[in-house]
């Protein structure tokens, strides 16, 4: 892919690039590690910060396998209608197919997409602004939520992202705001969105708001609702008669009376609040660097957030280019989420994902079915939340299936490991190919013993993917 002549990489360069690709991407591929070496980490980061400029015809061709991902909500309602009583179930037009397509597409992007950072951040923000795809009308709005609400803003302005989620039918339904109406009109104030907007989306739980603020914010969003799916489209709608017109004060700031504008005013206030800068900076550093976010880096990211009025591209740039990001103490400091494990394994073995459904099924089996986290916190990527007995068994089983080329819709050339039949010295080559480093003595020893015992190459590769080092990123 590159015409530049690469110099041989030193072990420390290789590890440093692998670290960058473990955090800003879904793990290294042989080709990408070489590309980053060639252009240099700084230019690669810059390229990734501008996903619109990345030409990705290969991915576009692959995504054609999941046509519903590109359809409008109105079209999805026609193509994948709700099942009527007495109608025979048809899996090709069942609404559940939309989520299957979406998950397969997300995995395909993670494995094959060139805009890797965008894919990583899309996953981050989909969990930050969690919705539950199988619930109610979200079945039909989830495609638009991923494509139109989240992805275009992950390297844009935070306020735009926040506003897009606030008006998205998926969020309006998930956090009940579609029912939020002034007490006088037969409905009632629903505080679910107002609370999570401050606790989870902006200020953080310790961000300095009170129960009164929850009430006031909730009243500001009365009337923000959705059109019912029977109408043929599920769109944002504002009902002026549902709106609570009494004066409101949020975080000590009077909100000028003004119907729908009150909600916009609240979003603006929250998006630019110092607590929000702190919370978003902390969460991004936690995701990109360490479960224990280094305070100095959080501070730098928070400063960038405030200085740029919430330009997420700047915040991410500050994090990825900071010296502390590349500190070897953070190599392998995070545990891979189920999606990260599956995608990085597929990338490490050079898989060709033609149909991503079974691969997405592996992510679900390991414990985090995509877009199906029930609580509004979304899926956590902290180590204590991503390892479990059942989850580890599912990882080992997935590794075995991958190494045996037994995952439906995925092609893996198992002959690439024929060299493992040549004896235990081949283990080093395998570990460098998969981990980008030689691995610990315990891991090397375990795999060398397997080779000496004449284990199948697939078993050795499966164990390399099951190693402690490969669960880390």
């Amino acid at each position: 892919m590159d015409t530049c002549t690469t110099v041989a990489r030193t072990a420390s360069q290789r590890e440093s690039i692998a670290h960058l690709l473990n955090r800003a991407a879904y793990g290294p591929t042989a080709e990408l590690a070489e590309h980053v070496q060639c252009v240099g980490p700084t230019d690669w980061i810059e390229e990734q910060l501008h996903p619109d400029s990345i030409d990705d015809a290969d991915l576009a061709a692959r995504l054609a396998a999941y046509p519903s991902v590109a359809m409008s909500t109105a079209e999805l309602l026609v193509r994948y209608p709700a099942r009527k009583i007495g109608m025979m179930p048809d899996p090709t037009t069942a609404p559940g197919r939309i989520l299957d397509d979406q998950n397969a597409a997300l995995v395909t992007r993670a494995v094959h997409g060139r805009a890797q950072l965008e894919a990583v951040l899309t996953d981050f923000w989909l969990n930050h602004f969690n919705v539950l795809a199988p619930k109610g009308p979200t079945k039909w709005t989830i495609a638009s939520y991923v494509r139109d609400t989240i992805r275009p803003h992950v390297l844009g302005r935070f306020e735009d992202l926040l506003r897009a989620t606030a008006k998205s039918p998926a969020m309006l339904y998930y956090l009940d705001n579609y029912l939020n109406a002034t007490d006088g009109d037969g409905g009632g104030i629903n505080e679910n969105y107002g609370r999570e907007l401050m606790e989870l989306h902006t200020l953080g739980v310790d961000g300095g708001y009170t129960q009164d603020d929850v009430r006031e914010v909730s009243r500001a969003f009365t009337g923000w609702s959705i059109t019912p799916d029977e109408s043929g489209a599920i769109d944002f709608v504002y009902h002026p008669t549902w709106h609570d017109t009494d004066p409101k004060t949020v975080l000590g700031v009077p909100i000028p009376r003004g119907q729908i504008a009150e909600g916009y005013r609240v979003l603006h206030l929250l998006a630019h609040h110092p607590s929000t800068a702190n919370f978003i900076a902390t969460e991004l550093v936690r995701r990109l660097v360490s479960d224990d976010p280094p305070a100095a880096l959080v501070s730098a990211a928070r400063t960038a957030f405030i200085r740029t009025a919430g330009d997420l591209r700047e915040v991410v740039r500050v994090i990825l280019t900071a010296d502390i990001f590349s500190d070897p103490r953070y190599y392998g400091a995070k545990a891979k989420s189920p999606l990260h494990f599956v995608a990085s394994a597929l990338r490490a073995v050079g898989a060709d994902v033609k149909q991503g459904f079974a691969a997405a099924g592996l992510v679900a089996a390991i414990g985090q079915p995509l877009l199906q986290a029930v609580p509004p916190t979304g899926w956590s990527d902290r180590v204590e939340d991503v390892v479990s007995v059942g989850g580890m068994l599912s990882r080992f089983s997935a590794a075995q299936q991958l190494a045996s080329n037994a995952v439906e819709g995925v092609d893996i050339d198992t002959h690439q490991w024929d060299y493992l039949k040549r004896g235990w010295r081949a283990v080093n080559r395998l570990l460098v190919a998969i981990l980008q480093r030689p691995g610990t003595a315990a891991t090397r020893h375990a795999l060398e013993r397997l080779v000496n015992e004449g284990a199948e190459p697939a078993t050795v590769v499966a164990l390399a993917l099951s190693s402690p080092e490969f669960q880390q990123c």
């Binding site: 109610g136 739980v205 939340d385 068994l393 891991t443 099951s466």
Partner: protein, 414 residues
């Protein structure tokens, strides 16, 4: 927020609680090292989809029951296909015939008109609320059974203290205390033959010298796999002539019975069964609902038979997120409602009684004019089982916003 979002890592750091014990060299030896004193076990069966409590336990003295359900009412006892009389007021659905002997022998109780105080009719929300046991608060992440495991003194260091025979960890068992969820104990395997042995040995070598959390979990995993290999669930023979239904629930209950009998340290087990969302053609004495109830009743009866004397220390509780409309709908079914009934079976249960306050089915007594009202908060039932059966009294740890006092005690457990 009612429950702190305390993490397993914080727990590990502070070095308290059950999970910290997992980091210690284990003294847990398969088949040995298990306390022989009476170990109490709670088995929860969740009926997902909202069971029609009014047809599961039929209020056959209520004229409104028959008036509102012309096509799906279960006839009163004594009539053809009639219910099985319990106390001259309520009758079991005839498909639950295998549970009638347990009611007569005093090992089965019913609580009627129970459920959640939250009015939601969303399956998702209502199941979550019932499993976290904090209705109305979506911020609570962990389940009440997990909180029990967190705060109760562990009876062993077993990874099998809490188990769900389910493909993913149900909310009720989710949380920072370790609990095992597998769809089938036979899945607890690293492969058979030489490859399985090679895989196990390599994992033990690679993870053995480490002390980080993934390594601790892999250690637990290997112990679970070893246990399951020894258990050999596919070759299990139920005792006393017990025959489990050949259904998902039958498999779950069979494996729970096997785990109880293995003495591996089980305290809380969870099974779940779908198929209760009967909007369409639910039937009366026969049909969709009858088939689901037969599966449930035969499963519980088989568990009781299989466990023999061990049933003395077991309590089985059925739960469902809400009940269904009193009125039959236009498609021979029922829609999402509110109050329902729960079954409690076990050696410590004071059975033979239908507990609770019956609110009646006249329109003015119905919840929102359409559904059976809830007169017993489901947490009162759970709390009584936790206190009287499991012997744990610090209820605020498990039911943080529910104040339980003796006046709510139903007398379910002796």
């Amino acid at each position: 927020m009612l429950t702190p979002r305390c993490t397993r890592r914080q727990l590990l750091r502070s070095g308290v609680g059950a999970v910290a014990g997992l980091a210690l060299p284990t003294r847990f030896i398969l088949g040995k090292g298990v306390a022989q004193s009476a170990r109490r076990v709670l088995v929860v069966i969740f009926q997902r989809g909202a069971v029609d409590g009014l047809n599961m336990v039929v209020p056959f003295r209520e004229p409104e029951y028959y008036a509102q359900r012309p096509g799906i009412a279960v006839p009163p006892p004594g009539e053809p296909s009639g219910g099985l009389d319990l106390d001259d007021q309520f009758a079991l659905h005839p498909a639950l015939a295998s549970l009638q002997p347990l009611f007569i022998s005093g090992e089965l109780a019913v609580v009627h008109a129970c459920g959640s105080p939250d009015p939601t009719r969303s399956h998702f929300e209502a199941q979550d609320y019932m499993e976290t046991a904090v209705p109305g608060d979506k911020s609570v992440i962990d389940g009440w059974l997990n909180r029990y495991l967190q705060v109760a003194v562990p009876q062993s260091e077993s990874v099998f203290r809490g188990i769900a025979i389910a493909s993913s960890t149900p909310r009720a068992l989710a949380g920072r205390a370790n609990a095992l969820a597998v769809s089938d104990l036979a899945v607890l395997s690293l492969g058979t033959g030489q490859r399985g042995a090679q895989t196990r040995a390599a994992l033990a070598t690679m993870y053995g010298g480490r002390s980080d959390l993934p390594a601790i979990v892999v250690g637990e995993t290997l112990r679970a796999v070893d246990f399951a290999n020894r258990l050999n669930p596919d070759a299990y023979d139920p005792e006393n002539g017990a025959v489990y239904p050949s259904s998902v629930l039958g498999l779950q209950l069979r494996q729970i019975a096997q785990t109880i009998k293995s003495g591996v340290g089980l305290e809380v087990a969870f099974a779940e069964v779908w198929g209760w969302d009967t909007h369409l053609g639910q039937g009366a004495s026969e049909g969709l609902l009858a088939n689901a109830l037969r599966d449930l009743g035969d499963g519980i009866a088989a568990l009781r038979t299989d466990l023999g004397e061990a049933f003395a220390d077991v309590c089985v509780l059925t739960m469902s997120e809400f009940g269904r409309t009193v009125r039959e709908n236009g498609t021979g079914g029922t829609d999402h409602g509110h109050g329902t009934a729960m079954l409690i079976a076990g050696g410590t249960v004071r059975g033979g009684t239908v507990y609770g306050t019956w609110p009646g089915l006249n329109e003015e007594r119905l919840f929102e004019g359409r559904d059976l009202a809830v007169t017993t908060d489901f947490r009162a039932i759970c709390a009584e089982i936790v206190v009287r059966h499991l012997g744990f009294t610090a209820l605020a740890e498990i039911f943080p916003d529910f104040v339980y006092d003796d006046s709510q005690r139903l007398g379910l457990i002796s």
